[in-house]
Amino acid sequence: MKIPKRSIRTAKQLFKSCVRDGQLDESLVRRVVTALLQSKPRDYLAVLMHFKRLVKLEIQRRTAVVETAIPMDPAQAEQLRDTLERNFGAGLRFVFAHRPELIGGMRVQVGSRVYDGTIRAQLDELKAAFGAEWRA
């Protein structure tokens, strides 16, 4: 679906109004969506689509995905939360996942930034280095 420029602009403005102190206010987001659906202004679906995309990107940016080969103990997890919040600012959403295929170590992704200390990643890198040309 092609979203008109005007709708993109409106969605951006609405999105900005939902940000309080650099954090996305979920209650405001809900209010915006219900208000839009009730009043149904022109192109409201397109506005909603783009609004959803902006919210999705913002959530992704503020989500830390922590993947480990074995389940983390709570103390360790707490320590990790502290470190990450110190680096990326408060208000991060944390998702902890248990993935045995990583073999060992931990992979943390915050937004598009990835810190990968898993054995799987090192093996993959080794594999790529063997198959690589001079350029890689």
Partner: protein, 520 residues
């Protein structure tokens, strides 16, 4: 005893060092910036994420497919895919590499045919390059440069005499299709390969070889194969790199090929050597860039070209330069080619490139079909810096030739009245006709500069006035044969002295009188 204690201590410190290094390696984190492919179409991908991507950074799509970040937008990154874009899927992970697009450079590439990324296409095995250079680089600044003062001998008499090209110059070759634009460039490459080889054989230390790079952009594979065959036949390949982004390559590769070729040329320049680069041709390059820009949804301007198409060519051609002694004395000469439509030089891309370059050689279809080949229109072709690079001998003979031809063009309109003209005008017309006849030259047959000088000296000193116009070519050929076979010493003298001294003039006079007696 003291030594025995010291040695194990010494060893243990090394062991500790190694251990800490191993420990560091173990804890080494992979820090990456990743994104997800949102859309793929027409050789470009839109990627969400990649918050830290840099402009012109290489992106790794995995599976050996690379991309180039060209559009950094608010929520996404637009990238062109280098390689097979059909292997890229929606939702796939993309990584930044922290590297700019680079190509291998160095002497190992000479004699090879490579693609826009420097990968061999000729099946002669891998290339072990000395270095890699980024494809996009800032051109040398004013501190590093000096004015052009050494010639590039093209071996084409009309060019060497009338529109000389110097090392470090950018001379545009412009004309309609099939007017011999590529041929001029191939001739130049062949002539310089011959000069390089002869200087090598003679063991001349002070001769500066000129290496050539031929970049084919959007050309038919058959044409490229023909050019390579021609270069091989003339023995020019050992001094030449051929970079090919043919018509079947992606637009992204066609857009990158001249920059890759330029990086290869810059290596020679940076290392105090001389190189010549031919961009064949920049019209197709602009078209490829237009395609990339349009599919990336950049706003279009005149003739649907993006707004920065001028900057695209100016930053490419600015990289051709002559460096001064302090920076190694190297040079990169550029011969861009532009194909016009029905002789229209006022179209967008031709005017752009005309204004960027230091002169242009204009080829005309009419002249071509009149049998004047190379079909150089001497009147509107210019070289803004080249005459500073002519050898003195050529300056001595060519300045008169220019005047004679200009007068001939002025009078040519009157030529139709034939016998009504006075003797002086008649003489000027006859001289002009003979010079035009002399400038005709078969393709892939460059003439050494000393022979050019001798022939032009002969016409200037009235040795051809009594030869009928239709016999001029025969006279020239036989004179060339006579000089090379029997007066090789004299030619060598002209080559060494680079000027026509009184002694050489006297010897030329004697030689021509001897030749005229035998010529029938």
């Amino acid at each position: 005893m003291a030594r025995m204690i010291q040695e194990p201590l010494c060893m243990s410190s090394i062991l500790q060092e190694i251990e800490t290094q191993i420990a560091n390696a173990k804890t080494g984190l992979l820090k990456q910036d990743v994104g997800v492919v949102r859309e793929v179409y027409d050789g470009v991908a839109k990627i969400e994420g990649l918050a830290d991507a840099m402009y012109n950074e290489m992106l790794d799509f995995g599976d050996g497919v690379m991309g180039l970040a060209l559009n950094l937008e608010e929520t996404e990154v637009g990238a062109v895919i280098l390689g097979d874009y059909l292997r890229v899927r929606q939702g796939q992970t993309v990584r930044t590499t922290g590297k700019l697009l680079s190509v291998p450079v160095g002497k190992a590439l000479l004699g090879r045919v490579v693609d826009a990324l420097g990968r061999p296409l000729d099946g002669k095995g891998p290339i072990h390059a000395e270095a890699i250079y980024p494809v996009e680089r800032i051109a040398p600044g004013v501190i590093k440069r000096r004015s052009v003062n050494q010639p590039v001998q093209t071996g084409i008499m009309a060019i060497d005499a009338m529109i000389p090209i110097g090392r470090g110059q950018r001379e545009l070759i412009i004309g309609d299709r099939a007017t011999g634009k590529t041929t001029i460039c191939i001739d130049t490459i062949i002539n310089n390969a011959r000069l390089n080889r002869e200087a090598e054989e003679r063991g001349e230390r002070e001769y500066r070889p000129l290496y050539s790079i031929y970049v084919a952009i959007g050309q038919k594979q058959s044409n490229v194969a023909r050019v390579i065959a021609e270069l091989e036949k003339a023995g020019a390949m050992p001094y030449t790199i051929v970079v090919v982004a043919s018509a079947s390559d992606t637009a992204a590769n066609q857009f990158l090929a001249p920059f890759a070729g330029c990086a290869m040329g810059e290596w020679f320049m940076d290392n105090g050597m001389d190189a010549l680069i031919v961009y064949d041709d920049l019209s197709k390059h602009a078209v490829a860039y237009r395609q990339v820009s349009l599919v990336l949804k950049r706003p279009s301007g005149r003739e649907a070209y993006p707004g920065d198409v001028f900057y695209l060519h100016s930053r490419l051609l600015e990289r051709a330069a002559r460096l001064n002694e302090k920076y190694g004395n190297g040079s990169l000469t550029a011969l861009p080619i532009i194909e016009t439509q029905a002789g229209d030089v006022t179209a967008y891309i031709p005017t752009n490139v005309i204004s960027i370059t230091d002169g242009q050689i204009y080829l005309e279809t009419d002249l071509f079909y009149q049998g004047i080949r190379p079909a150089i229109s001497v009147g509107i072709s210019v070289s803004r810096v080249g005459s500073a690079a002519q050898i003195k001998a050529m300056k001595q003979v060519a300045s008169r030739v220019k005047l004679d031809l200009a007068q001939f063009r002025e009078l040519a309109a009157f030529a139709q009245f034939g016998s009504e003209l006075d003797a002086r005008t008649q003489a000027q017309l006859e001289r002009g006709k003979r010079i035009i006849e002399l400038f005709k030259q078969p393709p892939y047959n460059p003439i050494p500069v000393e022979i050019q000088v001798a022939v032009l000296w002969a016409v200037q000193n009235n040795y051809m006035d009594d030869v009928p116009v239709e016999k001029i070519k025969d006279f020239q050929n036989k004179l060339t044969e006579f000089l090379t076979l029997r007066k090789a010493g004299l030619l060598g003298q002209i080559r060494a002295e680079k000027a026509i001294t009184d002694a050489i003039a006297a010897e030329l006079k004697a030689a021509l009188e001897q030749f005229k007696q035998t010529y029938r």
